[in-house]
């Protein structure tokens, strides 16, 4: 298996860990980190494929990183606001946003 194969396996593992973390953990910060993990797993895939398919994959990684940075800023702000209000960041406790 060449370097791309390893990279793809690694990114699949990272993505799976991210999904599992989002589904199983209750701490908003951890969920947030897991989301970042999934994004970076995808980045790794893009980079790996760009070796054979062209430079577009790497360009796309920059986009993902830029969007992720913006998302992190907004997401962290929300989490801080929630924490100030409730003094906790357990997602199971915020269930007011429904019908």
């Amino acid at each position: 298996m060449d370097i791309e194969g390893y990279s793809l396996v690694l990114s699949a593992l990272l993505f799976g860990i991210g999904v599992a973390g989002v589904l199983l953990r209750r701490n908003a910060i951890i969920i947030f980190m897991c989301v970042e993990l999934m994004l970076n797993a995808v980045n790794l895939t893009l980079v790996a494929f760009s070796r054979t398919l062209g430079i577009e994959g790497q360009v796309f990684v920059f986009f993902v990183m830029a969007v992720a940075a913006a998302e992190a800023a907004v997401g962290l702000a929300i989490i801080i606001a929630i924490f100030r209000h409730y003094e906790l960041v357990d997602v199971d406790r915020f269930n007011l946003l429904k019908w």
């Binding site: 999904v19 989002v22 589904l23 209750r26 969920i31 997602v91 199971d92 915020f94 269930n95 007011l96 946003l97 429904k98 019908w99």
Partner: protein
Amino acid sequence: MVNLLEAVLPVVQQAEHAAGDFVPLLPGLILLLPLAGAAINGLGAFLWRENRTIPSVVGPMAIIGAFLVVLVNFFAMRAVGPHDPAIVSYWTWMAAGDLSIGVDLQFDQLSVLMMLIVTGVSSVIHVYSVGYMGEDPGYSRYFSYLNLFVFFMLVLVMAANFPVMFVGWEGVGLCSYLLIGFWYENMDFASAGKKAFIVNRIGDFGFLVAMFLIFTHFGTLSFTGVFGPAPETLVYGGAVVTLITLLLFLGCTGKSAQIPLHVWLPDAMAGPTPVSALIHAATMVTAGVYLVARAGVLFALAPVSQAVVAAVGAGTALFAATIATQQYDIKKVLAYSTVSQLGYMFLGVGIGAFTAGIFHLMTHAFFKALLFLGSGAVIHAMHHAFHSTDRHEDPNDMRNHGGLKAFMPITAATMWIATLAISGIFPLSGFFSKDEIIWSSGTYGYTLLWVVSVVAALLTAGYMTRLMVMTFHGDNRMGDDVRPHLREVPAVMWVPLAILAVLSVVGGWVNIPEALPAIPAVGALHHWLEPVFEPARHVMAEHGFQQAHSAPLGGGEALWAVAATGAAALVIILTFRALMRRKYVPAEEAAEPAGVAAVLYNKWYIDELYDRVVVRPLLALWRACWRIVDEGLIDGTLDALASGTRMVGWVGSLFQTGRVAGYMFWFVTGVIVILAAFLL
């Protein structure tokens, strides 16, 4: 605008113009004057509501102007002599495929005669209205409606084809509705107007279907195009012509208040009395008679329809006369009398004695208008007397009248003239016209109808004498405080009465039967109308029609004329003497009628019968439609759809827990399912 100009200017395109033909003078003006009057007064109802002068001048002058134009045309036509109908075409109203209908007016002897009657009687009644309606808050509106009525009535009689006639036919119905419900604040009056309109619509349905049938068989709807070729196109006595004429007659029963659609006319008395005189006695209700006479060729081709028309006419004449004998409202007596006299006219035109029917239409217009205006004068005086003393008795109820001849001598005298005329006393107008119808029905072979019409004629003399006795003779029953306020109506009201009284006397002299040859104008009307009715009479003659020379019981026309007037006079004298001995009490103290009188007082319970047989089943049907179809079926389906949608939404909302973990779970599950779908 161009059309209006064409209407005023005497630009006449004659269908078949030949030298020596009659050319109508200012034909459009006859229609435009009443229409302009209606427009001006209609505007006045909004802009100068309090102004009494403008309507008082514009209303009557518009009609008198039209009358003068008609009069000029009449004399011009007389000078020309017998000729083909003159058609005045204005513009094409509808053109679609084979159908082309123009706004055409027809000037022939019949339509000019009708125009004379309509505008002449209208002029008199408009003048009278100035006095009668003088204090009404809706004065300008009243004249607007009345002018508009005359316009539509003229359209009806001047039309040269069925659709234009139908416009007039519907228009007079509209004006009748507006004027019956003129005092619309009174719920009863408003629903009387509605009743008239709805009952008329039933008849109009027949008229419309008849028009469709005529178009399918002739390809045209113009009078000349239908009546000319009718004897060749249609089979004598065939189903088609019988159906057409019966449907036309259904329209006539509605408009002219014949059995079974007579019920609206007595209720129409809710309108102002001059309206009753003009629309519901002299002109509009005779439109059906005019239509049968106009379509005489078609009726002559359908002997079954002729028999139906004659039988319905004679039946209505007797039926309405019996009701009239037991009514206490003075206008109701006259209303049933009108229904009865219209029955005579239909008997006349039905058996084929068209001239006799039209002749009676004319004389009836005079004496019945006079009777109504006279009753209006009585009501006017009674109303004032009661009003001045703050009493609220019914001024229409004859039980509250009595002895009025001492207070209202002119009204009493003119109404006696009309009573003698309608009863058929020689030499007043009703004698000649009614006698001609009765004589014709006897000699044309309708023996049973002849008997019926004779009985009805005697009843007529009876109930009219009863009306006169109860109103003008005996003791006054108004109470001592009210009596001093009674006085004769002003000149603007009694002069029209006098004019109509003169016409009621001399109106019959235009058609004196040959059996009484002493007077020079023998059969003048008959000769005048001969060109119009000649085709119909020709059809009848071709199929074996023959007039007998003596009545069913023997005896010539002169003998029967003497007998008829003698019998009528005898009935008047006997009724007068019998009723003068009877003591009447005011309406409030009177007992309810009982026995036969109750049946007649309640008009043979026809209204109640219609209520049970027609109105209530229809209401039940509509209630079923409302409850079962609308509320049950339609609302039920929509409600089920709505609650089903809400159900699905409720199930969907169960997934929206507000918990992030739950959303993520369904999100990931969704992704996996989609991926699986792609991969597998």
